[in-house]
């Protein structure tokens, strides 16, 4: 006899708004899912008619955890619109700022948001359970405390260059607002190394950064875990062993199609930022991976669909032409609309418009494309992992954590390349009318702005966040979004405490908080509910 249960996930976050997820379960497996963003703030509407530079103030404040990423791409959108020259030092500082925000997010997310679910009673029968509780229990876990508290350190470097984190606006078209002194750079190096010594190597890896980065295949990773006591018992080694033991590598696949808008520029290759020249200047590259193939990323192929979103408008609009005609959700519900998020889609050549997953896994898959310039990040590890393991909760986590040693090395390199006596800003000429596009990779994925300037002010502004890519609802063809897809097929051990849904949703690190409600699909009785907390 089959049993059907509906799980209702209600959002409780403040970053992008509140999220509800509803899930249907049959015979212990999720068969359908709906992600419902429940909050509308209208930032893009407010930006219309405002100062051209208003996005530098407004967009970082869209999100409490990705403010630096918002500033980075808002600034590049203006650089392309203003046709600026960006001094190479300014590009280095912007790269450093973007990267340290991501370095902050990685452990904070892992310990405060994700790993606390690993102490769930479901895993009591695992021989590693007691150790998981000892390390990861919220507040008191031996790894939780230093992991969360030390995650403050990387953004101290952000404050040194930008005055504060979060919500600085120190990147401006033509460069950055300040100019560092000698001790700004030396102190930054010291903070970074201190964080590396005390968390990244001592607690997380149990090995040197260099040793971890030698891993090129899934087998390399497994061999690394067993190489010695320190690696086996580091948080990374322990997490991999525990995750394999409890099956985090077996569900949460998603569509298997990915988008990266790329980030970090080679200073000399992108000192006159243009929309067309952007791909060639990226260090962590942009790209789309769909149907098992790599494609060049082209922002012109992005569109938004509002068929199931609480907006009036077309189901295929390029972001330059985006509108925000929000409607009362009670009215929208009658038209099968169920979310304030729009559904971003990408028109893949030869395939058509697809939902794509954004995030560290997407970046690391794109990083497996053969490189064409020395400065590009080429890294085959996750191409191999994907081929051998497929996507899963574990693989998504590993991709995120893999970026900590990678970007640590980059930040150290960029700090070393700053010419303190050089230029950090070149005053641009304000345009009367122009269009701009800027993108980056926030810790949780592709983040992009499109701006239209007319008569010296903002005529239109459109932000597409990684959470929109991942959490967006169905489109006009009823094709589900990436998190909806990843939830479908998830086995639920205990509908009274469906912790697996937490793992899957959290593996996307969406900057929204959710509550899950479980309903019996036949009787409508609520079986359980739980909160998926998030970084807000």
């Amino acid at each position: 006899m089959s049993s059907t249960i509906d799980l209702h996930v209600s959002p409780l976050g403040r970053v992008e708004g509140d999220l509800d997820v509803r899930v249907t379960i049959e015979d212990g497996v999720v068969t359908d899912a709906w992600t419902q963003c429940q909050m509308f703030r209208g930032f893009e509407t407010i930006l219309r008619g405002k100062d051209m530079r208003a996005g530098l103030i407004m967009t970082p404040r869209i999100c409490g955890i990705c403010g630096g990423s918002h500033l980075y791409k808002a600034c590049y959108a203006l650089d392309t619109a203003f046709q600026t020259f960006v001094p190479h030092n300014a590009t280095l500082v912007r790269n450093i700022a973007q990267a340290v925000e991501t370095l902050q997010s990685i452990p904070r997310y892992f310990y405060a948001i994700f790993a606390i679910d690993l102490v769930n009673e479901k895993y009591k029968s695992s021989p590693l359970y007691e150790e998981a509780v000892r390390r990861f229990a919220p507040y008191v876990g031996t790894s939780y405390q230093p992991g969360v508290v030390l995650s403050q350190k990387p953004v101290e470097i952000y404050a040194i260059f930008g005055g504060q984190w979060p919500h600085s606006s120190f990147m401006v078209p033509g460069g950055i607002m300040g100019a560092p002194t000698l001790s700004d750079v030396t102190r930054s190096v010291a903070i970074l190394k201190n964080w590396k010594d005390n968390w990244l190597e001592k607690q997380w890896l149990g090995s040197s950064v260099e040793r971890w980065l030698e891993n090129r295949t899934w087998e390399d990773v497994l061999a690394w875990v067993d190489e010695n006591h320190a690696q086996r018992n580091s948080d990374c080694g322990f997490f991999i062993r525990f995750a394999l033991d409890i099956g985090l590598d077996t569900y949460g696949q998603g569509w298997g199609n990915y988008i990266a808008s790329g980030t970090y520029f080679d200073p000399a290759s992108y000192d006159r930022p243009t929309i067309e020249g952007r791909n060639a200047g990226l260090i962590v590259r942009s790209g789309v991976y769909a149907g098992g193939q790599h494609f060049e990323y082209d922002q012109a192929r992005v569109s938004e669909d509002v068929a199931h979103s609480f907006y009036r408008g077309s189901d295929n609009v390029h972001p330059f032409d985006g509108e925000q005609n929000a409607i009362d959700p009670f009215i929208g519900a009658k038209e099968d609309k169920y979310s304030f998020a729009k559904s971003p889609r990408y028109d893949v050549p030869g395939i058509g418009r697809l939902p794509l997953e954004a995030g560290p896994l997407a970046r690391q898959i794109v990083a497996g494309k053969p490189a064409t310039s020395d400065f590009q990040d080429y890294d085959p590890l996750f191409t191999d992992v994907l081929a051998k393991k497929g996507p899963s909760v574990l693989v998504r986590q590993l991709a995120r954590m893999h970026e900590a040693p990678k970007y640590y090395e980059k930040v150290l390199q960029w700090l070393g390349e700053i010419d303190l006596h050089g230029s950090f800003y070149q005053t641009p000429v304000d345009p009367v009318s122009a269009r701009g596009y800027g993108g980056t990779e926030a810790a949780r994925g592709a983040l992009q702005d499109w701006i239209v300037i007319e008569d010296g002010k903002i005529a239109n502004y459109n932000v597409i966040t990684p959470s929109a890519w991942n959490l967006g609802p169905r489109d006009k063809d009823a094709v589900v979004g990436p998190i909806e897809k990843a939830l479908i097929g998830t086995p639920i051990h205990n509908p009274e405490d469906p912790i697996e849904l937490g793992h899957v949703t959290r593996s996307f690190d969406a900057c929204i908080v959710c509550t899950v409600h479980a309903y019996d699909g036949k009787t409508g009785r609520e079986l359980s509910s739980f909160v998926i907390n998030s970084m807000v």
């Binding site: 209600s10 509140d18 930006l47 919220p138 008191v140 929000a326 800003y425 002010k457 009274e496």
Partner: protein
């Protein structure tokens, strides 16, 4: 998220050392298998005592006063706010959105956002001008975008350690201990303000000068201790060459981000700053500025924050 950068006490200290019981927090909640909703309903009906209700984010009243642009645990968030605020001994608004409506409340305010007890400058907001909590206090506003984690944790520790009586509020509901002084106090560029020497460009241009004359710095008019209690233990916007945006004042963003007002000082007659430090008038200011410029020593026109 700024909150997680707190130190002495860190968020972990708050909970482990100060014994603060966080009933629910969007990033720190650990409820699993039990409805967060039950925590809220238990607080509302008094089953669980709610000592401090901390609210972040604007109160969203749209569309048409329904609040349905922000549904939380199956109902408009504003309805939760009404009930939880009534149940709490003390209500604290964290950040500009909760205090004053913040950025979402900027025209055309598409979401119908307002603050708990202010709408921008006007007392009133969602709860009303005369509203007081069970303990008899109006909403305690800790503004800023973001609020500094220290402003939050120190006030919470003060409340938790019986020092509520030491928290005097100004006429905007802000704790005076943090919001009497100006951002200007302690700014490393003060000496250039004194001699009316302006920074002329961003980047290397900020190795000298004050950001008040050209770049719209609101440090002299903004009440906040950003240059006393530094950000991330390291710096402040003005120290790093960025003009203060005045984000602890209810008018933020000033001039509602109108064209020409971002990172640019608004001038009268093309020369005199329109907004002056509180209490100064334009005539006196002109005389003082002229004298200051005449007396400006050579070093005040040279780079100071050098490599």
């Amino acid at each position: 998220m700024s909150f997680l950068n707190a130190d002495e006490p860190s968020v972990v200290d708050l909970i482990v050392d100060f014994g603060l019981e966080v009933l629910w927090h969007p990033s720190l909640g650990v409820e699993a298998g039990a409805a967060a909703k039950k925590i809220f309903t238990d607080c509302v009906d008094g089953t669980r005592p709610l000592d401090i209700f901390v609210f972040e984010g604007s109160v969203i009243e749209g569309p048409d006063g329904t609040g349905r642009f922000d549904l939380f645990a199956d109902r408009p968030m504003k309805d939760w706010v009404t009930e939880l605020a009534a149940a709490a001994s003390i209500v604290v608004a964290i950040g500009d959105c909760a205090a004053f409506g913040g950025l979402p409340a900027v025209a055309p305010n598409p979401s119908g956002s307002t603050g708990l007890q202010f709408h921008r400058k006007a007392r009133g907001g969602y709860l009303g001008a005369d509203w007081v909590s069970k303990s008899g206090l109006p909403v305690v506003n800790i503004p800023g975008c973001p609020a500094h984690p220290d402003w939050i944790t120190q006030i919470i520790v003060a409340l938790a350690t019986g020092r509520a009586g030491d928290i005097a509020l100004d006429d905007l509901g802000r704790p005076q201990t943090f919001f009497t002084q100006f951002v200007h106090n302690g700014c490393t560029r003060n000496t250039f303000f004194e001699f009316k020497q302006s920074t002329l460009a961003f980047g290397e241009g900020t190795r000298t000068g004050c950001l008040f004359y050209e770049f719209g710095c609101r440090g002299p008019m903004t009440h906040a201790p950003c240059n006393r209690i530094l950000w991330n233990r390291q710096s402040s916007k003005t120290r790093a060459g960025m003009p203060c945006l005045g984000c602890t004042e209810p008018e933020f963003p000033h001039a509602d981000l109108a064209p020409g007002t971002v990172f640019a000082t608004q001038l009268i007659a093309g020369a005199i700053p329109k907004d002056l430090p509180p209490g100064e008038d334009h005539v006196t200011y002109l005389a003082m500025a002229a004298a200051a410029r005449i007396s400006a020593p050579k070093w005040s026109k040279e780079d100071m924050f050098v490599v």
